[in-house]
Symmetry: C2
Subunit: 301 residues, 2 copies
Amino acid sequence: MRFADRLAGLVEARGSQIVLGLDPDPAQLWPEAVAQAPGDGSPARRAAAAVRAHCAALIDAAGPACVAVKPQLACFERLGADGWAALAATVEYARGAGLLVLADGKRGDISVSAAAYAQALVGSTPTPFGEAQGLGADAFTANPLLGVDALQPLVDGARAAGAGVFVLVRTSNPGAADVEDLELADGGPVWERLARIVAALGEPAAAGGLTDVGAVVGATEPRHLARMRELMPRTPFLLPGIGAQGGRVEDLAPAWAAGRAGGLISASRSITQAHESAHRSPSAAARAEAERLRASAWSLS
Amino acid sequence: MRFADRLAGLVEARGSQIVLGLDPDPAQLWPEAVAQAPGDGSPARRAAAAVRAHCAALIDAAGPACVAVKPQLACFERLGADGWAALAATVEYARGAGLLVLADGKRGDISVSAAAYAQALVGSTPTPFGEAQGLGADAFTANPLLGVDALQPLVDGARAAGAGVFVLVRTSNPGAADVEDLELADGGPVWERLARIVAALGEPAAAGGLTDVGAVVGATEPRHLARMRELMPRTPFLLPGIGAQGGRVEDLAPAWAAGRAGGLISASRSITQAHESAHRSPSAAARAEAERLRASAWSLS
């Protein structure tokens, strides 16, 4: 089944538009996860085991209120091969819990390199020894700076696998002003051009349905959302920036003009570290915060 | 020692500005490498062993004519944890051969995620079990779409490790026209703005020396090179696009206005697949092609 159909179906079935960000910092793992690491091995191997346990505990706690997880690839890559193995195990665990997996690596490269990223994240790679399976994600994030011919192999690879791509259009950080917000000589900012590229690349799953190429749209500048929806009427939006970065759920309504799966709210630290302000166990605090976000978004959409 | 000093010293010592691209495709490895894979194991594990042998053979053959290798991370990531282990082994092998390592992942993300990429590629990560060492590259490529606050953690992480960053300014693919070449309302294309950001981020290693923040500048549009050098007078340029993509060494002279290490020529397929047109063994053809490129660039710089 195509990604956009799976996404729309799962949003309805789970009653949730929340994407659980998995950004494990080995120095800030839940204590129960650190305790599960083996007693010997290299620091990377032990930390990777703890990261894996941390992500599983987080999925157990907050997953029921979510529709997807979004592992931040950088956080796993910094533990090398052990970290990549922990990533693969986490992807499998999330899928076992009925969640979609959005691999957040913001990849972008030309021709065969872009095709290799699609193989790595959602496809597989032909080898003389048989097909090597990739990560098995349902979708991944991509960076559009290199233009359409660099995005196309990502989209083609995703489409062949029934997966999706979320392309950066306007990110949630203040520095987005440096390049993404620059005004173009023929009118509008760079991000409007990116939005048009995204709209043109996507194919709808069905009449009136969402497209398989999504957009990453920071929740920190909600004043742009109505214009984004105008430029990308059938595009699913992945909305980071709620919580620590200052974005508010109640400002995101225009995203859902494309339907309930049209706006996915990504939250990481606000869930993982909810216990720091809540005086509850990490898992209880994470569950409560994810459920609070879920109910808040669902009631607005 | 700072990256720019190491780079300049090594370019002089080896008499080379050639960067050997390592983009291993498991379906197109040198036959001698495929023969070295173990007889059992998963396709990914066997292919990763063959990839590792292929890269070592390529480094043995062409490395002496080069100053650095540039592993394309996508090509390793598609083999999962086994691929990442092959990448780490390849980095170690290249360093043992006296070559610099430029990790080509074109990474870019915000705040803590960007810092995690720097930890992964050139730094290390604190864990409850001790410091987890990263890949140990000498430099890595980065994508500037997300702006200065997203580049800064990459630059800071690299600088702390004595490493460098090569930021995309104008890539070698035709699609670069879609975003990088867009004209801005206040004059000049997007890539000129990126060039200014790169110039401002870099710190010179020494008076008159190169900076530690480099630029990726496609060799396919050499008409821009003089302007690039004007905007980034002390920036090392990494120049992909020679050979298969149509770029020519003899058009790159402006890069070396900043000194012999000011222009590094990246070549992948033209070296790895030189035997397809040369009727020689893969290693002999690769050695000859790398030496031809080396001599050609050196005589112009």
